[in-house]
Symmetry: C2
């Protein structure tokens, strides 16, 4: 079962993400990051790869896209906050954008 | 060249879109619509088909996605408002969602 991040797990999981540009969303237990690509094909191509992982893991982002920019918010609606799934998907997003 | 919709062309192009659920965005010369699908695969699959047309026509939407819902805003940044391209892409989106 997916569970909300505990006080102990929170730091070790989130600190590396903060170091790679993720931030807390104000007023929500959620993280956000803006990804900027060279053009629309690169932005949407990245979204497509992320989408397949998101569906595979049954964990989907909130995201918007305008041309080459994608804004992402991750949280786990089922647990009302951040879970290990968010950290996992955030790492995958970074890796696919790398 | 793409031009901003004139007073004459505006009605005939936009009225059919309003009839199919498009609305003006408050405070902008832009149109918006929310598309709701059965699930994420259907929502993102539709986005992917739209993305290919958008790139082909070099006219891209502002859009966000949360699971099975996609919110779209269309406007033509180059002309500072709605153009025939927006009507064309809106019709394509409706057709692909049909």
């Amino acid at each position: 079962m997916t569970e909300k991040l505990s006080t102990e797990t929170r730091g070790p999981l989130l600190e590396p993400l903060f170091a790679s540009g993720w931030e807390m969303v104000e007023g929500r237990d959620a993280i956000k990051k803006t990804f900027v690509f060279d053009n629309f094909v690169d932005a949407f191509g990245w979204m497509t790869r992320v989408a397949i992982w998101a569906e595979k893991w049954n964990h989907h982002p909130e995201w918007d896209n305008v041309y080459k920019t994608v804004n992402v918010v991750l949280t786990t609606h089922d647990v009302g906050g951040l879970s290990t799934l968010d950290a996992k998907l955030a790492r995958k997003m970074d890796s696919l954008a790398g």
